[in-house]
Symmetry: C2
């Protein structure tokens, strides 16, 4: 949408104002007027670039999920050729670390992720991660040839659920450390069990 440099700056300002208002006031009290005010533009301008309030929030969610997916993809590239257990450690730790890079944003976004369209966004990012995992697993010396798409999706959703639970109950550094090691164990034992049952 941005045709001139001025409008690109405006879009950026609105995006950042959205994050700030989201963290300061929460998603309930995030009004389009407040975001516009914070961004230093009028409401009308906001609606020129984002069709509605939801689009504003989705932009932030998409950005965040994209970062997590990228972190997982990077981990999958790093771990190529290693054993399945080592791969699982790399991926689980990368996932937790990406989520915990900005715990405040992660937590705030759980509200938005449930909105209409949110689940689709989550699924799209899950697919990116799944593909990266599948490609990585094909390079493992100790993995079976056929990988189950559903199993990988389940593993991912399970990690996401456990991470969410920790974030929503405060997410102290001690809990986060525990989560990291528990998710590694969870992924490793599940992957091993799947391998045995094939």
């Amino acid at each position: 949408m941005p045709v001139q440099a001025r409008s690109a700056a405006t879009v950026q300002a609105i995006f950042e104002a959205t994050i700030q208002v989201l963290l300061r006031d929460g998603s309930d009290r995030l009004t389009t007027t407040r975001v516009a005010e914070r961004a230093g533009v009028s409401v009308g301008t906001l609606y020129q670039y984002y069709p509605n309030r939801q689009a504003l929030l989705f932009a932030v969610l998409e950005d965040h999920l994209g970062k997590v997916a990228t972190a997982v993809e990077d981990a999958c590239l790093r771990a190529r050729g290693r054993t399945v257990a080592e791969m699982m450690r790399e991926v689980a730790e990368a996932f937790v670390d990406a989520k915990m890079a900005r715990p405040d944003i992660s937590t705030a976004l759980y509200r938005i992720a449930a909105d209409v369209g949110g689940p689709a966004l989550v699924r799209r990012m899950g697919e990116r991660s799944r593909k990266a995992l599948e490609a990585m697993l094909r390079t493992a010396p100790d993995a079976p040839a056929c990988q189950d798409r559903f199993a990988i999706d389940t593993l991912f959703a399970a990690m996401a659920g456990a991470t969410r639970s920790v974030l929503e109950s405060g997410g102290s550094p001690a809990m986060i450390r525990k989560l990291r090691s528990h998710l590694v164990l969870l992924c490793q034992s599940y992957a091993a069990a799947l391998n045995r049952s094939v």
Copy 2:
């Protein structure tokens, strides 16, 4: 709050109207006026029993989570004295079945569960389940004496996350069957790994 029989009926009517409007229009378009209309009372009456819109939705969420927690508690009682693997199967299947008893309600409630106060409600119900699981595990012939609270919470959140993912991507009967068996495997392998690492 209900002092006379009339008001008890009113509260019930409002509660059921909330579910109906939630399923018909979605949580976004659920307005207090619409719920009151559907319940056959005026808005003012609604506010006499539920202090605000959120309280309305929380009542439905609390009811649903309560049913799931009860299903898990029942499963934990049934499986006492059996092996850890059998316990995990019983609990995982009970959890999935309880969530899938009313997939429409389960799915609709994900929106509400993220609202302020929702996470606390989820945690409270999680605690009920965890306590039931701890009590059950103490009767297992092949479980270690010390159980990790965090591990059980993690297992629960993982199951919830995976179940949510399936529900939000449609939740076909085939997927649900797959989820059931995968969650059993996930719980069993994680529990076994924990036992080994103690």
